[in-house]
């Protein structure tokens, strides 16, 4: 499950992620991290589901972080897409493929939100959510 975290500048000085990893033993992959003088924003992928995921999210919220669950990182505008496939092979996490009717399908569990498909799309049909 991919999660977007927003936190105040004070929270940034605490090793929240390290603590949660040590306490729960969960695998966490940091996909994106930005820190400005005002606040921080991070997209992480927590490799678990069910109760363990729920506990992890509760822990993050208790630490003062604003948590948004992300269903997918990019979306395809079906009106603009021409099913060419130019986005498929540049995807480093192999998250994009043709479905049976040759429409573009993005596997949200694999997507790491790198955005290379956005620039690779000749129709500008892919956007970050």
């Amino acid at each position: 499950m991919k999660v977007k975290l927003r936190y105040s500048h004070e929270a940034a000085s605490k090793p929240v992620l390290a603590e949660i990893i040590l306490k729960t033993g969960l695998l966490i992959n940091i996909i994106e991290a930005k820190l400005t003088p005002k606040e921080g924003e991070m997209v992480i992928d927590i490799a678990t589901q069910g109760q363990a995921l729920k506990r992890a999210l509760e822990y993050l919220r208790a630490a003062g972080l604003e948590v948004t669950e992300l269903r997918s990182l990019v979306e395809v505008d079906r009106e603009r897409c021409i099913s060419c496939g130019a986005c498929i092979s540049p995807c480093p996490s192999r998250a994009i493929r043709f479905d049976e009717s040759l429409d573009i399908e993005i596997d949200e569990r694999r997507c790491i939100g790198c955005g290379i498909c956005i620039s690779a799309c000749p129709r500008k049909a892919i956007q970050l959510i």
């Binding site: 021409i82 060419c84 498929i88 690779a120």
Partner: protein, 483 residues
């Protein structure tokens, strides 16, 4: 039936029976075709204008024609939104019925007094608007990969470093020109599916090279009657704009030879995978592949499985072949015998640069003026030489004069600060170099990419011949053309 249905039919019933029973095979392709555009006639304003410069939605339109005739090219880019919107998008917008801004300028003549105009037009306002594409529907096309260590943005799409992916173009077993491989049925006057409407082949396309499977077509058709579903403006990141064009051609099965090529499958159509990191017109072939392997989604290069994906839409190509089949079955589309067939051989000439271009050898600092050093040399001795000769780069060479490293004045400053004694301790061993025969602009680009200001010039066995610096390039070339 469509080319793919024909392939299946031949597999089940054999070529002879298929050739006897099938009259026409329909084909299709839907890919980026940069040599596309439209001739437009705007009609005369009151008072009239001889348009000298002209824009549609800020995209420059070619005006080297009569007063209100113009040619809108697919790769012409918007002056306000370059790499985002271009001629291909204007064509798509016109065919969708959208309003497009027209702007024109002139110097004014006695017969055409107006000097400027601004208005909006829609497709129906124009007297004539026809697609005229000098090169469409390549029989087959090379695939692309990238062996360098940085991302390439090309007309073949985004290519990841170190064989990260392969992209390919063309519809393979649906490709109009490949299905009549020997060009026995397609020629001047052939009626075709073009952009969702009806069009005609008006001759061989530019760079037509049928002897190696790279035949091309020039096509023409009325934009009115076409559909934006089959004419889509597109952008290749950092490359520019283009137009996806839908082309479908009916192939009458007139003899066994045509039947045999119409039945060719993806695995029968060879495709070379080229290395697009080599910026040359002769790119090295990395692998000989075919459309079946490329369409499978992965290609084996060496011992690596590399993801592959198309740039042209196989889905839309299929739809074009289906649509054309329906038109023919319904009696709405008639097959036209060509007035003249296309040539089946054409020399493919390169452009020779006849004016001598400035090379590295012309402006480099020659060997006799250089300061060279040996790895064991004392840092202080080298520092003294640098001051005497007023230079910034010292190539480090072996006894035989072969390059093994480089130090710059910056490296020496640091060495003195850190109390190092010999050059060996501080020299850079991975040296970016240049050759005497290289063009200066290539070398300038290399310096910029690596954020360095000087390159040793070496021969084929890495012996130092000279040194070229960004200073040499800017000082010695000011005011000279061709760089």
């Amino acid at each position: 039936m469509t080319a793919e249905e024909f392939i299946e039919f031949v597999e089940q019933s054999g070529l002879e029976k298929a050739a006897k029973e099938v009259d026409v095979v329909t084909t299709g392709t839907f890919g980026a075709m940069c040599s596309s555009g439209a001739f437009l006639n705007f009609g005369h304003s009151e008072p009239p204008i001889k348009m000298v410069r002209c824009w549609l939605n800020d995209v420059p339109v070619y005006k080297g024609l009569a007063a209100v005739d113009a040619y809108l090219g697919a790769t012409s880019m918007s002056e306000t939104k370059p790499f985002e919107y271009g001629g291909g998008h204007v064509i798509e917008d016109l065919v969708s019925g959208k309003e497009v801004e027209l702007r024109a300028e002139s110097y004014g003549t006695d017969c055409y007094p107006r000097r400027s105009l601004e208005t909006t037009i829609i497709l129906d306002d124009l007297n004539q608007a026809y697609l005229y594409n000098p090169r469409n529907a390549y029989q087959r096309y090379n695939a692309a990969t990238n062996t360098s260590d940085h991302i390439l943005y090309t007309y073949m799409g985004t290519l990841l470093p170190r064989y990260g992916n392969v992209t390919f173009s063309g519809s393979g077993q649906l490709s109009p020109l490949y299905k009549d491989l020997n060009l026995e049925t397609i020629g001047f006057g052939t009626r075709i599916f073009l952009g969702g409407g009806v069009g005609y082949v008006v001759g061989e396309g530019t760079q037509h090279k049928p002897q190696s499977g790279f035949a091309t077509l020039a096509v023409k058709g009325d934009l009115r009657g076409m559909s934006a579903e089959y004419l889509k403006g597109a952008v290749f990141h950092n490359y520019g704009t283009t137009l996806y064009v839908g082309v479908g051609i009916p192939i009458p099965i007139i003899n066994m030879r045509v039947a045999a090529t119409a039945a060719l499958k993806d695995e029968d159509i060879p495709v070379d995978i080229l290395d697009y990191s080599v910026p040359s017109r002769d790119r090295p072939i990395i692998k000989k592949s075919n459309y079946a392997e490329l369409k499978s989604g992965k290609v084996v290069i060496g011992d690596k499985e590399v993801p592959s994906s198309p740039l042209s839409s196989i889905k839309v190509a299929r739809k074009i072949a289906e649509t054309l089949k329906r038109w023919i079955e319904a009696g709405e589309f008639f097959i036209q015998r060509p007035i003249e067939l296309l040539p089946n051989y054409r020399e493919f000439k390169p452009l020779k640069i006849k004016k001598r271009e400035v090379t590295v050898g012309d402006i480099m600092m020659p060997l006799k003026d250089l300061v060279l050093a040996k790895p064991e040399d004392d840092i202080k001795k080298v520092a003294k030489m640098i001051i005497e000769k007023n230079i910034d780069h010292v190539p480090i060479v072996s006894e035989e004069g072969v390059l093994i490293g480089i130090v710059t004045t910056w490296d020496l400053t640091r060495a003195l600060a850190e109390d190092k004694k010999t050059l060996k301790e501080i020299m850079t061993r991975y040296v970016i170099t240049a050759k005497e025969s290289e063009r200066v602009d290539e070398v300038a680009k290399r310096m910029a990419e690596h954020h360095i200001s000087g390159l040793p010039v070496v021969d084929d066995v890495m012996r130092v011949k000279g040194l070229i610096t960004s200073d040499d390039i800017s000082r010695k070339l000011v005011g000279r053309r061709g760089v």
